[in-house]
């Protein structure tokens, strides 16, 4: 029986699992979390039932229906707490997994050798550094969401949400649902740039009206909670001794450079900052998949990557939101499962929502002037505590134009998060500091032979290797 392994149980992975089953394949669905749904449908654990959890989510019924059907299907094996740490493609695809409690010392190792692999690893917030961003009380938007939806924790009582992109709106709404006072949502791009981005070819929006309605819903929630939405503004510094006590808000030029003299101090007990999303590419890179110039996994019309047998769906092929992720997952799962052609409806939806994603990038993309709010002591690499000054100085004194050698000189990007938080920022800063204005090597910040930190003891313990008599077929 054909076996499909799917990594990631968010919207794209769930849709892929169902489609692969529809094509007749057996499915192994892996997720590092102990719950299905990914970040979009992050929810309370079973030990915390409630009457109206649906109110915290979009598409909650769709999620429950997908989850319930996969859980009830004997030919779907769901591996919770399954952390993929390496993918090999020497002779067919091999997926190396540790299974158990998150960061535990006693996890079991498993290796899968499927006929096809679907990567649906999603994305995480990209947050640009600013002075004080490492203080407790500074969160990504995703953290505020995860804690609100998955734990019912309010990260603060007086909160500013700042950054760029439509994701700021659901973050504000989640915070409001926890009883936090959201003082303002600050979008770095100017109103003009947002309107120009959104209104280009407006007829394209008509088929995406469901998506439009989701955003209208957030906007209405914002009105209901009387949250001011201000454009052309950013949090450019956070202040406090052991936690955030206030932030500096500044007006920005169109290129995001702060306008001198516009700074205002605002007392807050938390601030949530996201400037967009960055795809989680390490497994795709490990599998040898080609990336586009914009840093996403390149796929063909069937969601097949450049590596035979490896498909990709969802945010790692381009940031497009839940509807696009589901459409791509359906197409990827169907083809990974062995079907040929078809999936006309999913292909139509993919076309519509891809246009939507381009619109978001046009309206809300990061502009280069943001480096204007950095100071020399601003931490850029949080893990290794490497400052902006150290990175700029290393680039100047070594005259190096290689990302690899500059990383080794400064240690930026070499800490425990493996450069996930600062990788792109370090690349941008070094690129700007190098004499050519761009880096001269092709070192990828996503290249991680061990795709995820794990303990050597876990690798060395022979009793932890689960032997598969045959790696094919479900158990």
């Amino acid at each position: 029986m054909r076996q499909v392994v799917i990594v990631g149980a968010g919207p794209a992975g769930l849709a892929a699992a169902r489609a692969a089953r529809g094509a007749g394949a057996d499915v192994v669905l892996l997720d590092s979390s102990d719950a299905l749904g990914g970040q979009f449908w992050r929810h309370l654990p079973e030990s915390r039932p409630s009457q109206h959890e649906k109110r915290l989510h979009h598409g909650w019924d769709r999620f429950r229906e997908l989850r319930d059907s996969l859980e009830a299907d004997p030919r779907v094996r769901i591996v919770r707490g399954g952390q993929v740490w390496a993918i090999e493609t020497f002779a067919g695809v091999a997926v190396h997994v540790v299974v158990g409690e998150s960061d535990g010392a006693l996890r079991d190792r498993e290796v899968f050798a499927p006929d096809a692999l679907v990567l649906a690893t999603g994305a995480h917030d990209r947050t640009l550094p600013f002075p004080g961003w490492d203080l407790p009380g500074v969160f990504t938007g995703g953290a505020a969401q995860a804690l609100a939806k998955g734990e019912r924790i309010a990260v603060g009582q007086r909160v500013i949400v700042a950054g760029a992109g439509p994701f700021l709106l659901p973050v504000a709404q989640s915070l409001a649902s926890t009883g936090s006072t959201v003082l303002a949502v600050l979008e770095a791009n100017s109103a003009g740039s947002i309107i120009r981005g959104w209104s280009r070819r407006p007829w394209e929006l008509i088929p995406a009206s469901g998506k439009g309605m989701e955003l209208v819903g957030y906007a209405a929630g914002q009105l209901r909670h009387r949250i001011p939405y201000r454009t052309g503004r950013a949090v450019v510094a956070a202040h406090g001794t052991d936690r955030v006590e206030s932030v500096t808000v500044a007006a920005l030029n169109a290129d995001w450079s702060p306008i001198p003299g516009s700074e205002q101090r605002v007392e807050v007990d938390a601030v949530c900052v996201s400037h967009g999303f960055t795809p989680r590419l390490e497994l795709a890179v490990a599998a040898g998949c080609d990336l586009s110039g914009e840093g996403f996994v390149v796929v063909d019309d069937d969601q097949l990557t450049s590596t035979p047998g490896v498909y990709a769906a969802g945010e790692i092929t381009g940031i497009g939101g839940v509807d696009l992720a589901i459409a791509e997952g359906e197409i990827a799962g169907r083809h990974a499962g062995g079907a040929l052609g078809g999936a006309a409806s999913a292909r139509r939806r993919r076309r519509v929502f891809t246009g939507f994603a381009k619109r978001i990038e046009a309206a809300h993309g990061i502009k280069p002037g943001w480096t204007g709010w950095l100071t020399e002591p601003t931490i850029v690499c949080r893990c290794e505590e490497v400052t902006c000054g150290a990175i700029r100085q290393a680039a100047r004194t070594t005259r190096s134009e290689s990302l690899r050698s500059l990383k080794l000189t400064t240690r930026a990007g070499l800490g425990i998060c493996q450069g996930r938080m600062c990788g792109r920022t370090v690349e941008d800063l070094l690129g700007a500091a190098s004499t050519e204005g761009s880096l001269q090597d092709d070192a990828s910040p996503h290249r991680r032979p061990i795709a995820f930190p794990l303990r050597l003891g876990e690798l060395a313990d022979p009793t932890r290797q689960l032997e598969h008599e045959t790696s094919k077929g479900t158990q």
């Binding site: 590092s32 979390s33 102990d34 970040q39 309370l44 654990p45 030990s47 915390r48 039932p49 409630s50 009457q51 109206h52 959890e53 109110r55 915290l56 409690e101 998150s102 960061d103 535990g104 995480h124 917030d125 490492d134 203080l135 407790p136 009380g137 500074v138 969160f139 990504t140 995703g142 953290a143 505020a144 969401q145 995860a146 804690l147 998955g150 734990e151 019912r152 924790i153 309010a154 990260v155 603060g156 009582q157 007086r158 649902s177 926890t178 009883g179 052991d242 936690r243 007990d269 938390a270 949080r382 893990c383 290794e384 505590e385 800490g415 425990i416 998060c417 996930r420 938080m421 930190p453």
Partner: protein, 109 residues
């Protein structure tokens, strides 16, 4: 002021009664709701700082909240570098937030 758990009586999702979990953090007992992460248990009582950094001795807490940044790592039952935002709290867990600075310098075993 600060972080808190949404009081059940005020929560628009109308939660059913939930069980509790008790863990020991730096020697002190802290109670939370069954199913909460270790970070959630601590943030419910407005505890944001989870460690101090090795070089600058700077405070750190939850940042990304989804297991990517590793800023919230603590020691759980003798195992270090456990992401507090990802690990669910179990009754009797012993958590140490002393931080990587002390451990790396050998001050704390």
């Amino acid at each position: 002021m600060g972080a808190r758990a949404v009081p059940a009586g005020e929560d628009p999702i109308r939660p059913d009664a939930a069980g509790t979990v008790t863990i020991r953090v730096d020697g002190l007992e802290v109670s939370g709701i069954d199913g909460q992460s270790i970070a959630g248990v601590l943030m419910a009582s407005d505890r944001l700082e989870l460690r101090r950094t090795a070089r600058g001795d700077r405070p750190r807490g939850v940042f990304c909240g989804i297991g990517v940044c590793f800023d919230c790592i603590v020691e759980v039952n003798g195992v270090h570098d456990v992401r507090a935002c990802q690990r669910r709290a179990h009754d009797g867990d012993t958590v140490i937030t002393t931080g990587d600075g002390a451990r790396r310098s050998g001050a704390v075993s």
